[in-house]
Symmetry: C2
Subunit: 466 residues, 2 copies
């Protein structure tokens, strides 16, 4: 345990006193529909970046908007404290699209405070959890520290990007170009969750390869009565090819070389996860399921924390409106993704998938590929800088020991920070699996927001004292 | 050969003289967007029915709109001629949806006359060929006869419905309820095509079973990083189930009992079709393909004229917009259809498909089915009433012998006329395979329209003389 600095209590009191103001600032950010994947929201993405710049300047940081070929990146610094490690905080201001809009119970961009039957309060809006709510826990922590002490406990830089949800290609060149400016001792990434009610630092993250595949057969849509059977149906072909990517019996991905370099999780790690993580019934029960799909021989948690996966994220072809249309379409397309673990190369996985599709094409059919992001997995060592003080600080705030966990999601910037900026990144966040990130009615618990702010105050002071 | 009545020539001359007026009336009907499958076009469907009523009354028929639970049916009669057989003409005034609208080169509901490089003129609009253009060949023939002779050569009734493209359930009860009123000697259905440049009567029609299948897994859309692999993906499940409906090697449908009652086409029929019908390269080449898909051992024409088929007409699930979204959706759906030949029971085929889907469902997954139409195949005997006079009349108009052919499409009313009204129906039409029925830029050749009108004049007089 690190020593708790004596100047911590007044900051935590300030956080508690200012909570309503912190919330109203978060609501302001949530009202900006910064959907990065939709071109019509480019102006909203810029507005969210500008909003963050102003907030950071307002609490004494030097902040600026950095242009990229896509959405701008917010960079801010307070490098005045002479002592302690220099931390680089990462978050993103962009959000997922909101469709299907009809399944939302309130306007996704008009944040609402909902009180559950058990009295728990939740902030409902697109981005409430992923990632605006989480980003604001850090900024509000900085504000409380500034208001109380006037100075930061350690040197702090922030990078808040706007293309995390769109797999935008611009962050890597940006980090590379600003390598010297952004170099620090500890990376902090706030885009992950807790383990139920237990505070957690994510130390194993999967990578991801996203790919869009479009199959084309005839030169135009055909009448299925006149041409059906005899003319190749691209939907059926797509179904056949996509269903061949997974072995029905073992649930394993069939692509050649897909598991090359993938190691089995260590028995002691599996044992620890079985102790701390929810069992299959609990994990799947939250979303109405009871039986794990996917690879046999692994629990649901193992499958999502340390095994690679294949998912079809979207499929479209032919007539999908109301009623029926006896069309034999000219094309069909799907968006698929692979989650990668340590040892897998995103470039090779993408090539293996594309080769598999090409090899399965019969005569008269063509394929077009559109890549959507690619990143390797990232694992943080047990002795990474700042990991122990951060775990201790989290434990103190939440009243129980913090744990290290894996995460099925992909946060490419963790690998980027290591590969480009040469530092390990601690993934600390306060989200929950039931936050409905990427889904209708996305929410963030008020407790996550409040204690998240307090957690950062403790963590930053712990770094200063370490 | 039947004797050509001496009063035929002045009627044909009248058709030629009035062609521009006939065209402008057709354009008027084409401008009504009577898309039966879309509820917002219900008023347009009624408007098209009313338009037809007025036209038929204008040429001396007693015409009326008959209400159904769906779109109204137009019924008209001129039963004054005492002599000859009584014919019942069938057509439909509804049209297919127009999407994808961006692939049309002109407004689908603003008919345009296009002149091809070779000088051929084509009427471009939704419904130009299927079926408004064809229906108007018959009505304009009646108009020319009335203008020339004042009386019809035979008793004529018309039924023009508005739910052919939507698989509406209302025609069968309607025909049943009006059985006595609609009883006639010869059915005429104008919703088929020629064989290239050769006039043809379709004597083998496939039936159809349409079904919509929706699979549901989790209770909400999930983040594919957090739940992927472990939670069942309904898109992947749908792909697997749909691709299992056809055997990859033989191309045959795998549903138990699917081929029960299906007879091989007679060797002499196959031989005749090989002589008159386009070969695979020609048939498929028109739409940019060269290799037949589907069942091995059959030509493309055999597959579409006399073999049952399975098609996926539409599929939809997950995120299908621009960019990428790492969603694991809660549901996915597809519209599929089976074309049936003589001997297959639509009820059994539907049950077999639904059972196949249900049997393939893993735990935690549910399925919902929405039926879309079902009808058996229909074959017209060589000695059916009116077949020989009609073939002779067509041959005289087009200057070459008319042939009998099969058709891959499904026109349930042919079986309905037989089963409910007790008469064989002759399927006579002037469409072409390249008319882009159900596709963008649907067209009808001006020659089809003009000589189609003349053909009906000859056929009706041939019936009178037979």
């Amino acid at each position: 345990m690190t020593e708790i600095p004596s100047d911590l209590t007044p900051v935590l009191d300030q956080v508690d006193r200012a909570l309503d103001d912190s919330l109203s600032r978060l609501f302001g950010l949530l009202r900006i529909p910064s959907v990065s994947t939709r071109p019509e929201h480019a102006g909203d993405c810029r507005a969210a970046a500008q909003w963050l710049c102003q907030e950071l300047e307002g609490i004494g940081f030097s902040a600026r908007l950095c242009e990229t070929p896509g959405h701008p990146v917010v960079v801010a610094h307070d490098r005045t404290p002479p002592q302690g490690p220099h931390v680089l905080f990462y978050g993103h201001y962009d959000v997922q699209p909101v469709d299907p809009l009809n399944l939302w119970h309130s306007d996704p961009f008009e944040p609402t405070m909902v009180t559950r039957d058990d009295g728990a309060r939740q902030i409902v809006a697109r981005g409430a959890s992923d990632d605006k709510g989480q980003v604001m826990t850090f900024i509000e922590a900085l504000r409380a520290i500034r208001a109380t002490h006037g100075t930061m406990p350690v040197r702090i830089s922030l990078v808040i990007e706007g293309e995390e949800e769109s797999g935008g290609p611009n962050l890597v060149p940006f980090l590379t170009a600003h390598r010297d400016e952004l170099a620090a001792d500890i990376g902090l990434i706030c885009d992950t969750g807790m383990l139920g009610a237990t505070p957690a630092i994510t130390t194993a993250l999967r990578g991801m390869v996203g790919e869009e595949v479009t199959l084309k057969c005839a030169t135009r849509d055909l009448h299925s009565g006149i041409y059906g059977n005899a003319a190749r149906n691209p939907i059926e072909l797509l179904c056949t090819i996509l269903s061949s990517v997974r072995d029905r019996e073992s649930g394993r991905v069939t692509l050649p070389g897909f598991y090359d370099g993938v190691r089995e999780p260590a028995p002691e790690l599996r044992q620890r996860w079985r102790e701390i993580a929810p069992d299959d019934a609990t994990f799947l029960g939250e979303v109405g399921l009871s039986h794990p799909a996917g690879e046999t021989g692994y629990t649901a948690i193992e499958q999502t924390w340390c095994r690679p996966s294949f998912e079809i994220n979207g499929i479209c072809g032919g007539y999908t409106g109301e009623g029926f249309k006896t069309v034999l379409p000219a094309m069909a397309s799907a968006k698929v993704s692979f989650r990668l673990v340590a040892g897998q190369d995103p470039v090779r996985v993408r090539e293996s998938f594309c080769s598999h599709v090409r090899a399965a094409l019969p005569a008269d059919c063509t394929v077009e590929f559109t890549p959507h992001g690619g990143s390797g997995a990232c694992v943080v060592a047990d002795d990474a800088t700042g990991l122990r003080p951060a775990l201790a600080a989290l434990g103190a705030e939440w009243g129980m020991p913090a744990v290290t966990i894996g995460c099925g999601g992909s946060i490419p910037v963790a690998a980027d920070m290591r590969n480009i900026l040469g530092m390990s990144a601690l993934l600390i966040g306060f989200a929950h699996d039931d936050d409905r990130a990427h889904s209708p009615d996305e929410k963030y618990d008020l407790v996550s927001f409040h204690k998240g702010i307090r957690s950062w105050v403790r963590i930053l002071h712990a770094f200063a004292a370490a």
